[in-house]
């Protein structure tokens, strides 16, 4: 068994950014393990633009965004292994992996950054009744077929779910001459970014049906149609509203799930809300020396934030390798009205007062509200917005003096307040 100081699992945007940040922080023994044939992760199939506005102040395509990081990783000579699948990680940070050239290998890592991203919820997870023909794809699989393989999954499309990949694919399939007949969303709001609804649906007159769902799939060998229906306030379909739309393809964009099989394996505590690890402000999980960032921690809307978050996790990992290990008591951060979750979930009661970025999502659409951070009833940080939706991640940046207050306080709560409150 070989020993490595920092092992990063995943060579997508999270892993690449983590590697660079660890290098900048002075660490030289870094290894990225990537299961795909190239670095870049899911960005490689995202050929539309809109990436990097936040970090680079320009609009890049997915591959262009990835390329900027890949080049820097290469320039610094950071080691990475491709076509390498991590099979297990243990509580004491032994990583087992396989690939064609080295076979079955074990590494003992000083620290691990989990950067393995997320996967799409498949049909089964939402339990649509009906037949099981060809022609049902998750939006991301369809995206890969079109953008990487160069094949068209179908000609008449219905999309269930208005997640960002579904919206992007509505436009992409239209470009390819397919007819997107409807995007059907169970909730009364979209889980995607507003800019995608405008640029991908409205600009092409693709109908978006809120409070609707697919209740049945038809067709024996290939999809021949779907039955859709409106849902009531409890999200139950109203049978009298059922109608059939003929189509040869159903794309699913019904949510993303952090890929945490490895974390589970290492007995990392997971949050039932985010599906990712429970972490402290250093983005360290419940297992000392194992950190998590990016979509494996919680699903992000913009890759820029994935990069930022992962860099922070990597800097923390380097400090851990240098001996920093907060043994302080951990305080659980609370969420109040309107806030579905906050990451990190825990705060160390120690004397490290570096600024902290808190990322969170709201649980519904809210207008004219303030997102507030309260310590023992006192508002220490607030952010006003015209509209907040579950599709857009919110954040609050706590500067050192605020962090000092948080670590001294007893009850820390994130919640929404009406603007005039």
């Amino acid at each position: 068994m070989t020993e490595r100081r920092l092992v990063i699992i995943g060579g997508g945007p999270a892993g690449l950014s983590a590697a660079l940040a660890a290098y900048e922080a002075g660490e030289r023994d870094i290894l990225i393990l990537e299961r795909d044939e190239a670095l870049g992760g899911i960005l490689n199939q995202c050929i539309h633009n809109g990436f990097g506005l936040h970090i680079f102040k320009e609009e890049l395509t997915g591959p262009e965004y990835a390329e900027r990081f890949i080049r820097e990783v290469a320039d610094r000579g950071i080691e990475y292994k491709l076509k390498t699948m991590v099979l297990t990680i243990s509580h004491d940070r032994v990583v087992t992996y396989v690939n064609q050239t080295e076979g079955y290998q074990k590494i003992r890592a000083g620290a691990i950054v989990l950067a393995c991203g997320c996967r799409e919820r498949p049909r089964g997870a939402i339990n649509i009744a009906g037949t099981r023909p060809a022609g049902i794809f998750t939006a991301g699989t369809a995206q890969r077929l079109v953008n990487i393989e160069g094949y068209l999954p179908g000609r008449e499309i219905v999309i269930l779910g208005s997640g960002d990949i579904g919206l992007i694919m509505a436009r992409r399939m239209t470009f390819e001459g397919a007819k997107v007949k409807a995007v059907v969303e169970l909730m009364p709001y979209s889980s995607g970014l507003n800019r995608n609804i405008v640029q991908c649906l409205q600009d092409y007159d693709i109908p978006l049906l809120f409070s609707h769902t697919v209740i049945e799939i038809k067709g024996r060998e290939r999809v021949e149609g779907v039955v859709i229906a409106e849902v009531d306030e409890n999200l139950r379909p109203k049978p009298e509203t059922a109608r059939e739309i003929s189509c040869d393809t159903l794309l699913l964009s019904v949510g993303l799930i952090p890929e945490n099989e490895l974390a589970r394996n290492a007995e990392v505590e997971l949050s039932p809300v985010t599906g990712g690890a429970v972490v402290d402000e250093n983005l360290m999980t419940s297992v000392p020396g194992i950190f998590a960032a990016g979509n494996v921690l919680h699903v992000h809307d913009l890759v820029d934030y994935v990069s930022e978050e992962s860099a922070h996790a990597a800097r923390s990992a380097v400090k851990y390798l240098q001996g920093a290990d907060s043994k302080a008591e951990k305080e659980v951060l609370r969420t109040g009205k309107g806030v579905r979750y906050v990451v990190p979930q825990l705060l160390n009661r120690d004397e490290n007062y570096e600024p902290i970025t808190f990322r969170m999502r709201v649980d519904n659409v809210y207008r004219q509200v303030r997102l507030v951070l309260k310590v023992d009833g006192e508002t220490v940080l607030a952010k006003k917005k015209q509209i907040m939706t579950p599709g857009e991640m919110e954040s609050l940046e706590a500067a050192s003096e605020i962090v000092r207050k948080l670590k001294a306080g007893k009850q820390i709560v994130f919640e929404l307040e009406e603007e005039n409150a």
């Binding site: 699948m85 080295e102 498949p122 997870a125 099981r132 077929l145 094949y151 068209l152 024996r220």
Partner: protein, 478 residues
């Protein structure tokens, strides 16, 4: 046209088991299958239970072959290397009425020759299955009950039959049967004419249609649909035993059972339907299954569900298996094989083959090879075995399916075997690729690439399960 000694129609677990038994004799045997692969009917979607044998009516063929079949699994699963485990079963009772049913099942089981049956208290049952409902008052414990992978079992039978000279033709649907001078003529849907001295009807839910066009002794097979949920392996802790409720007139009721690869299966309900090809699931049916199952394990969590599916039982109106020569010389039925059909299959096949061989005066084959090697399953290997197989074949180090950890070497092997997988579902049944929690989202493009290379197919010709189940419709604009 070559005269066959025997044509077997249908390659579910019954047709495949019969083919393998007949491979022990010197004869020309041909199996015709209307789908693109073996195990595409009732075999691909059922509970996978190797029943102990307390349920069928004493004296019935179901009782006889259930008990005989059950005893064959230990040796057979080693010979043919298909997944099988004797995990034991509980039939749970919630009140005095159902406790009486347990007593009846116990008595029936003893009459049928089932060993080691006993009735235990609700608390003892809960010690075996901690999540079991507090309402369970008693349970019948059947330690000889087991689980097998039904489609892997059929593939194993069929591969071994093929290795021993039996020919298989896929996508060969039989349109018409006709008596001939020397036996029976078989016309395929595409017009091709075949002939055999003996035709064995193993056509599952379609067996009545074949029989009734040639025989005066008509029978009816009712398609009886059952719907299921498949749960993520992470929830394997729900139960290590197969959990039944007390049976009803429609069948053994909703069960909760581990499957051989560690997932939990919940189902089936039972509904007689009109259309034999109707494999759709319904909201009502799925809800019914879930509600009933929660009576056994109240803590079942919907988040555990990976997928739902439905299967069709070939229910004979006579309520028993139909096995034997018909009134038509050379026409042999193996029909109405519903539960405990999977358990009974090996024993049925032995008797069918003996009877057919004796009618044709077939001689045993001296060089019959009884052993079949399974595709080495990487995910199930020890560390040392994993290291060794990658050294031997580096493609075992290239993981294609992340969720089930299936390497490229395993997938290519499944395409290169006798009775190779030729489509995505065929690969799934043989290697579990795409069967995990992402349901093939990540690996589909890689599988298409491998199928395309191995079978020299264009992507537009690749299907999910043959015919028109094409995955993509064309190229994107240049």
């Amino acid at each position: 046209m070559i005269m066959q000694d025997i044509i077997i129609i249908g390659s579910g677990v019954i047709g495949s088991a019969v083919a393998r038994e007949l491979a022990k004799y010197q004869a020309k045997v041909l199996v015709l299958e209307k789908e693109s692969d073996v195990a595409c009917g009732a075999t691909k979607a059922n509970s996978g239970i190797v029943h102990a044998g307390y349920d069928p009516e004493p004296g019935s063929l179901k009782a006889k072959y259930n008990v005989l079949g059950n005893r064959m699994f230990d040796e057979l699963s080693k010979e043919l290397e298909f997944p099988f485990k004797r995990n034991g079963a509980l039939v749970v009772a919630f009140d005095e009425d159902s406790e009486k049913v347990l007593e009846r099942l116990l008595a029936r089981g003893r009459t049928n020759g089932v060993e080691d049956l006993r009735i235990i208290s609700g608390d003892e049952a809960r010690r075996m299955v901690p999540g079991l409902s507090q309402e369970v008052t008693k349970a019948l414990y059947a330690p000889t009950s087991g689980i097998a992978s039904p489609y892997e079992m059929a593939v194993a039978f069929a591969e071994n039959a093929a290795e021993n000279g039996v020919k298989f033709r896929m996508l060969a649907e039989v349109a018409k049967l006709e008596r001939s001078e020397n036996g029976i003529k078989v016309y395929l849907a595409d017009g091709e004419e075949l002939e055999a001295k003996i035709v064995i009807n193993c056509a599952g839910v379609f067996a009545d249609e074949l029989n009734n066009q040639i025989s005066e002794r008509k029978f009816t097979i009712v398609p009886r649909k059952g719907q299921y949920f498949l749960l993520d392996k992470v929830y394997a802790e729900y139960t290590s035993l197969t959990l039944f409720q007390t049976p009803t007139a429609m069948g053994k009721g909703v069960l909760i059972t581990p499957a051989t690869h560690g997932n939990i299966i919940v189902g089936p309900n039972a509904q007689d339907i009109e259309d034999k090809r109707d494999l759709s699931s319904t909201v009502e049916g799925l809800n019914e299954v879930w509600e009933k199952a929660k009576r056994t394990i109240p803590g079942l969590n919907k988040r555990a569900v990976i997928t739902n599916f439905s299967g069709i039982r070939a229910h004979s109106l006579g309520d028993d298996f139909i096995i034997g020569f018909s009134d038509v010389p050379g026409f042999y039925n193996v029909a109405g094989i519903e539960s405990p059909g999977l358990t009974a299959a090996p024993a049925i096949a032995v008797d069918v083959a003996k009877e057919v061989a004796s009618a044709l005066k077939l001689k045993p084959k001296a060089d019959f090879k009884p052993y079949r090697k399974a595709i080495p399953h990487f995910a199930a290997m020890s560390e040392e075995e994993k290291a060794a197989i990658i050294k031997e074949n580096p493609l075992y180090g290239k993981i294609v399916c992340r969720c089930e950890v299936v390497p490229e070497g395993e997938i290519r092997e499944a395409i290169r075997r006798p009775l190779a997988a030729r489509d995505l579902d065929g690969l799934k049944r043989r290697t579990r690729v795409g069967m995990g929690r992402c349901q093939g989202g990540f690996c589909l493009p890689r599988l298409m690439e491998i199928l395309s290379e191995e079978l020299n197919l264009d992507y537009t010709e690749i299907t999910k399960f043959g015919r028109n189940s094409k995955v993509v419709v064309g190229r994107v604009k240049e």
